[in-house]
Subunit: 322 residues, 2 copies
């Protein structure tokens, strides 16, 4: 599984960070998915290997502008690229009202269909390629969701020693068995696929969360996940100073949850623009130090255009830094 | 007068060019104006000396997304910067419907007032600082306008030789005379301001046009203008191939109009992304060659973040190139 961050700032873009957007795909798949689409997401996409043509669906965590104001422009540009495949947009119902309203008020004509799915707690979609996707409700000023992406198909290996012991010769039949089909043998026996498939490895699962002041709402989803991507808008001291009104998480709160949930990998994102890369004021190093003090797993702080890979063993690696 | 291009691509952004946006201000003024606000305009503003706080008004030429999809994000970011001054948005009525619709559907709360002005042919506003602004109707698939910015106040110089001949001693009185006030002299004479002001120079006037397939619609406005900023989406051959449907101008058509109108300065912008900076395909050099063949004035092809100055004598200079 591959992830690429298109925006990692909260509220407003900065010179280094755009507002939220995350590209996700199964390695080698022709489809990809987008979680959130802040203004300028299409500009970031121009700097990646992703195309608005092969985008299969967009998941919008919540209706705040820094997570959705890039939708109209991305839809328009996909149209100018002559996209014809339907595009799914899944999110809280306000997202459909927003997008339909803009299409209508600006006379936007698209050469492809836009399909909307209204997301609520427990919403699941299994009809998309590569992943089963589930929504989990979060706690924010407006309805906000996390999307959990679970691999749909695992290629299970054949128990070749057993096949040979049972006198089943290698050939096209082995492929059928591996694909889950039972086969008739020349001696009139039937070989059942289930008898010759080795146990599958664990399905990879990645949770991408929207804005949220209560990470523990993801406790159940996190049980079988290898990676959580979650906001850490502030350090704890800044959050205490601002108060609970904005309903965001601190680095400490997110990291402590990931530690308690036993999550092997954590990527923090959605940083307040007040945190600079370096300098005398609040810096990204403050966010990192706070998170490392509370979490002993594999921790990353996302930057724009960073690409990550989660391998079959659930090991997360940063592929490119910017 | 200073202009800075924030976007110079038509339809979609490219890696080098954003969609339409142009900043304009009177040199030394604390206010500035924006014409068009395509997606990502606020990102470009981050790379300039302009701030969403001191932006006085936004003029939207027409409702197409590449000219207005950056409005919601810019409004939101100005709010996060704690802007309190009202902001005027002037454009065809669809612009107000679009912006109000997004504010409503996404629950955007702003700490300042947004005022809308519905632009139609002949619309004028004289209540803004620095400029009187007039709209002229263009020809496009949807209602589209040009905005003409004319300097409001010209500082007229005093005829000091005449003052001395008439025995009016230098002092605070000279300043009053220059500001247009008559003054009482110690010998009971009255010195009239009008008698001592030298003739004013011509007021500078800049026309910034939206999408338009008929440049000659600007013939009247162009009579006393020093600069026209106008689209040249295609070269003539490409326009002929595409046909008149999109209702854009070729470089040749725009340049020929500027030549006929006697405009001393012309900046072309809004280039189709098919024109590359260099390479084997259609290039910016094709646009330039076609325009130069038809126009013998001071010609520029705009690039993103370029700054231009129009001095008191109507001479246009490129201040920085990118």
């Amino acid at each position: 599984m591959e992830l690429q961050f298109l925006g990692t700032s909260s509220g407003t873009p900065s010179r280094a960070r755009n507002v939220s957007g995350l590209a996700l795909r199964a390695r080698g798949s022709k489809h990809w998915y987008l979680v959130d689409c802040g203004e300028g997401t299409q500009h970031r996409i121009l700097r990646t290997n992703f195309s608005p043509i092969s985008l299969r669906a967009i998941f919008v965590t919540h209706i705040h502008g820094d997570h959705c104001y890039g939708l109209p422009g991305l839809l328009a540009s996909a149209g100018l690229l002559n996209r014809t495949e339907p595009l799914l947009i899944a999110g809280p119902p306000a997202v459909e009202r927003f997008v339909r309203g803009v299409i209508e008020s600006t006379g936007l004509r698209l050469p492809y269909a836009v399909e909307f799915a209204a997301v609520e707690a427990g919403w699941t979609v299994a009809t998309l390629p590569d992943f089963r996707i589930e929504a989990a409700a979060l706690s924010h000023r407006v309805p906000s969701f996390a999307f959990a992406f679970t691999e749909k198909s695992i290629v299970r290996r054949l128990d070749t020693a057993k096949l040979e012991r049972d006198g089943i010769a290698s050939g096209p039949g082995w492929g059928q068995l591996q694909r889950g089909e039972d086969i008739d043998l020349p001696d009139c026996r039937v070989a059942r696929s289930a008898d010759y498939l080795l146990p599958g490895r664990r399905q990879r699962k990645v949770i991408v969360a929207g804005d949220n002041d209560t990470p523990s709402l993801l406790a159940e989803q996190a049980q079988d996940a290898q990676l959580l991507v979650h906001e850490a808008t502030y350090t704890e001291d800044v959050l205490q100073k601002i108060g609970p009104g904005p309903q965001h998480s601190s680095a400490r709160a997110t990291a402590a949850f990931a530690q308690e949930a036993g999550l092997p990998n954590l990527i923090l994102t959605h940083f307040s623009p007040r945190y600079q890369q370096a300098g005398n004021g609040p810096s990204m190093a403050d966010i990192e130090a706070e998170a490392r003090a509370a979490y002993r797993g594999n921790l990353f702080l996302a930057s724009d255009l960073q690409r990550y890979a989660l391998d079959r063993h659930g090991v997360l690696t940063l592929l490119t830094d910017t």
